[in-house]
């Protein structure tokens, strides 16, 4: 353990921080990392490791060294907690789904009901992955039984299929939709009711208090502002 008891905002906080973060956080967390480094000259945030939450959780359980873990769902973070590597995660952001269509909306998609249209190519996340579970929930709530052409492994895959025009409609997170020039969003009734919660935690083996500083910054209003700019909702 390092010198204990440093508080965020004081120069007493120093050291390197390794952050594991869900892929969907990539833009936002890069910005936050820069802010943290600016606020704490002694803190160095290593290039953030982005990957699927499931992959990151497995790696942590098998011994990957990290100070902070930000997951895109609570289940994967819970695996890390269960393994005794961290305690009391905190939700710092939420995300919600939206219908996306290729630019120009060639399929004339107007709402969730179109997911059942057999003439349209529809792609969703696979039910096993968080975004797929959320998609199913959303469709059920809307009373729609989608006719799916492909159950993709992750949001990026859905987005790619829409962006290349292969599929006419799909459900992705708003944050992902915001990052692509080649898709348009369609108003999605009921999306606000199915939110995805992003928890973060400083791992037990964190080397320095700087890890806590990073977590605190993410949870701080400044951090929340950045996240909001990238499309994330409040916890």
């Amino acid at each position: 353990g390092g010198p204990g008891g440093g508080t965020p905002g004081t120069d007493a906080v120093a050291g390197q921080v390794t952050v594991f973060a869900a892929a969907s956080l990539s833009g936002a967390f890069d910005e936050i990392a820069a802010d943290v480094e600016a606020a704490h000259p002694g803190v160095e945030i290593e290039p953030i490791r982005y990957d699927g939450s499931s992959t990151l959780a497995t790696q942590l359980i098998e011994g990957a060294r990290a100070d902070v873990f930000a997951s895109a769902d609570e289940a994967n973070l819970q695996r890390v907690v269960d393994a005794g590597l961290a305690a009391s995660p905190r939700v710092f952001a939420t995300n919600r789904l939206t219908l996306v269509v290729p630019t120009g909306n060639p399929g004339d998609v107007t709402g969730l009901a179109d997911l059942a249209d057999p003439d349209l190519a529809v792609v969703l996340c696979a039910a096993e992955v968080p975004c797929g579970a959320a998609s199913g929930q959303l469709a059920r709530a809307a009373g729609v039984t989608p006719r799916v052409d492909s159950y993709e492994q992750n949001v990026t895959a859905v987005l790619t299929k829409i962006a290349t025009g292969e599929a006419d409609a799909g459900l992705v997170y708003v944050t992902d939709a915001a990052r692509s020039d080649d898709v348009e969003t369609v108003a999605t009734v009921g999306a606000d009711d199915v939110v995805n919660r992003y928890p973060i935690v400083a791992l037990a083996e964190a080397r320095t208090p700087a890890a806590a500083a990073f977590v605190d910054h993410v949870l701080s209003p400044a951090g929340r502002a950045v996240l909001e700019r990238w499309g994330f909702g409040a916890p």
Partner: protein, 292 residues
């Protein structure tokens, strides 16, 4: 005078005394020429390949294993995998055998360029290969757009799975066969031509049989790679159970999704492995002994 013994001796002996015994020819002609120390790194290599798999098996959840591997989803993925990999292997044979022949018999420079081209899909992360296929055969792709006008759509179909597998597996067949063809040389082909055999007869009766071990190796590699193909398929063909969800996609889906132990993914991996090894041993069993 018969069988005269003149000092330093010669004599005949009855052949009936000779016991045919076990044939030691393999030892005398094969590994007899290998430095024995090489067994050490060879054993290490086998260990490197095998022990991780045993570690994998060690993490199996015996409680759910049977249910996992016999679930209808697993079975349908397995059948689809075997079907598509077989068709893709056939497609690779039809396209790849001629290409291997052309490369093996081309001049050094042409061969080098063609070989580099063939090696490309090996280097490319399969996912990028999938994107490339999507850009070509997709609805907005050059070819895809043309096909669309005649009502043919490839992505999200089983055809897309086969196309993706063919794309990634083709180099294996070509490179393995090409090496074998080059090693065999053209002596026997020349001898056959000098006996009046036409090009097709030479191909079927001489070239391919003599390159047999290389061809079998190539087909096996090709089949194995097609069976294991994931990245390009995921991107180009998607993941619809029964249509495009092959075993690797099922495994990946299980891996990404399953809660704590990823036991289902591991169980499916082992199912795939056991199937593949069974197919391989079967094919290798057909293979006759080395012809030389």
């Amino acid at each position: 005078m018969s069988t005269v013994d003149t000092g330093s001796t010669v004599s005949t002996a009855s052949p009936d005394d000779a016991t045919p015994g076990r044939r030691r020819s393999t030892r005398a002609t094969g590994s007899a020429f290998l430095p024995r120390v090489l067994l050490l790194p060879a054993a290490l290599a086998v260990a490197l390949l095998v022990i991780p798999l045993i570690a994998l098996i060690g993490r199996l959840d015996p409680a759910t294993l049977w249910a996992d591997v016999t679930s209808p989803a697993a079975m349908s993925a397995l059948v689809l995998s075997l079907q598509t990999a077989t068709i893709a292997t056939a497609a690779c044979a039809v396209l790849g055998i001629p290409l291997a022949l052309v490369i093996a018999r081309a001049g050094a420079r042409t061969a080098a360029v063609l070989r580099a081209i063939v090696t490309v899909p090996l280097v490319l992360p399969p996912m990028v290969g999938g994107v490339a296929l999507l850009f070509l055969f997709g609805r907005n792709g050059w070819l895809g757009a043309a096909l669309e006008t005649v009502g043919v759509r490839i992505p999200f179909t089983t055809a897309a799975v086969i196309l993706a597998q063919t794309f990634v597996a083709l180099p294996f067949l070509v490179l393995a066969l090409e090496g074998a063809l080059r090693a065999t040389g053209v002596r026997y082909e020349q001898a056959a031509a000098a006996l009046g055999a036409g090009r097709w007869r030479i191909l079927w009766r001489i070239t391919l049989p003599l390159a047999g071990p290389g061809l079998v190796a190539g087909v096996v590699l090709c089949f194995a790679r097609a069976l294991g193909e994931f990245g390009a398929t995921a991107l180009f063909a998607g993941n619809a159970p029964g249509v495009t969800q092959t075993m690797p996609l099922a495994i990946y889906t299980a891996f990404n999704g399953a809660g704590v132990s990823q036991g289902t993914a591991v169980a499916l991996s082992l199912l795939l492995l056991v199937t593949a090894v069974a197919v391989l041993l079967l094919v290798r069993g057909w293979r006759p002994g080395s012809t030389r």
